[in-house]
């Protein structure tokens, strides 16, 4: 009979170098980590690189994981850091736009306003709008507003100051608001 170990036991075994335990942690967290990587990267191809890099870093660093935070939280931070490194590498390779050359796309804002914000369609629209954001803004808004990371943790993993993280967050929110609710705002102004 197979005994299912809990996460703490698996982390403990993985810290001692148990590969099977680490592989099990990878299997249990893979969809969640891939989702974060996909949200941060904005595309499937980069998400694949980010998720692999994140787990390689996690394997190399598992011995240093003290267990102060949940394993998933630790993994989120590693993934955020891997995504930032991936972005820098991509910029060097093919000059990925990193600034604010962002044009709101037509996401059917008028329907959005009339629908429930929690509908599946609304979630798809907001996910699409996130993909269209400049990478540096997307990273911050995903980590803060989707995953609930602190400004301090975000700043540390992205290698920026806390104030820069806040500025990026506010700009990202404004851009998302413009894309998703602009029709509504214009209606209000009339």
């Amino acid at each position: 009979m197979e005994i299912r170990l809990d996460e703490t036991e698996l982390v403990g075994a993985a810290r001692s170098g148990d590969r099977q335990a680490f592989d099990e942690l990878v299997r249990r967290t893979f969809v969640d980590t891939f989702t974060l990587a996909r949200r941060l990267a904005g595309n499937e191809e980069d998400a694949r690189d980010v998720v692999q890099e994140a787990y390689l870093r996690a394997w190399k660093g598992i011995g240093k994981f003290r267990g102060d935070a949940a394993f998933s939280t630790w993994l989120y931070r590693i993934t955020a850091n891997a995504a930032a490194s991936n972005l820098q590498r991509r910029r060097r390779q093919r000059s990925v736009p990193f600034d604010d050359d962002f044009e709101p796309v037509d996401t059917g804002a008028e329907q959005m306003v009339s629908q429930s914000a929690e509908s599946a369609e609304a979630l798809d629209r907001i996910a699409g709008a996130l993909d269209e954001l400049p990478a540096k803004l997307r990273s911050v808004v995903v980590l803060k507003d989707v995953y609930g990371m602190s400004h301090e943790a975000i700043a540390e993993e992205l290698g920026i100051s806390v104030s820069a993280a806040k500025v990026r967050l506010h700009r990202a929110r404004r851009k998302l608001r413009d894309v998703l609710y602009d029709e509504g705002a214009q209606a209000d102004a009339m």
Binding site: R19, F30, T35, W59, I126, A127, V146, R171, Y181
Partner: protein
């Protein structure tokens, strides 16, 4: 304060960050800014719901990732083994050099002693 000035502060205010008494008072009395703030609240609520809207990984990616970890682990083990061997070689060479040095010192000291006794 004017609405356009306050609007710029709403992405911070929606988190409860202090934006100044004048701006906060403006929002309390301005229906337009209240509606705008409500949009930001809705935006944040929807974003937080993305947290559990999982994206299905590409087929085969889990296997590729586990294989990459295996490769890295084996490479790391080889690297550690090589580092260990290098350390052992370095230790052996260092030890030999020390022993040779000590022998030379003893020989020099003896030859000096003999030279002194012959002179005396």
């Amino acid at each position: 304060m004017r609405c356009d000035e306050v609007t710029a502060m709403l992405p911070a205010l929606v988190d409860g960050e202090p934006v100044g008494f004048d701006a906060e008072r403006h929002v309390e009395t301005c229906l337009r800014c209240q509606a705008e703030l409500a949009r930001y609240r809705r935006l944040l609520r929807t974003l937080s719901m993305l947290r559990t809207r999982y994206v299905e990984p590409t087929p085969g990616l889990l296997g590729e990732t586990l294989a990459a970890i295996t490769e890295a682990a084996e490479h790391g083990a080889r690297h550690t083994l090589l580092s260990g061997r290098r350390l052992a070689y370095a230790g052996a060479i260092g030890g030999s050099a020390l022993a040779a040095g000590a022998t030379a010192m003893v020989l020099i000291a003896r030859s000096r002693k003999r030279a002194l006794s012959l002179a005396g």
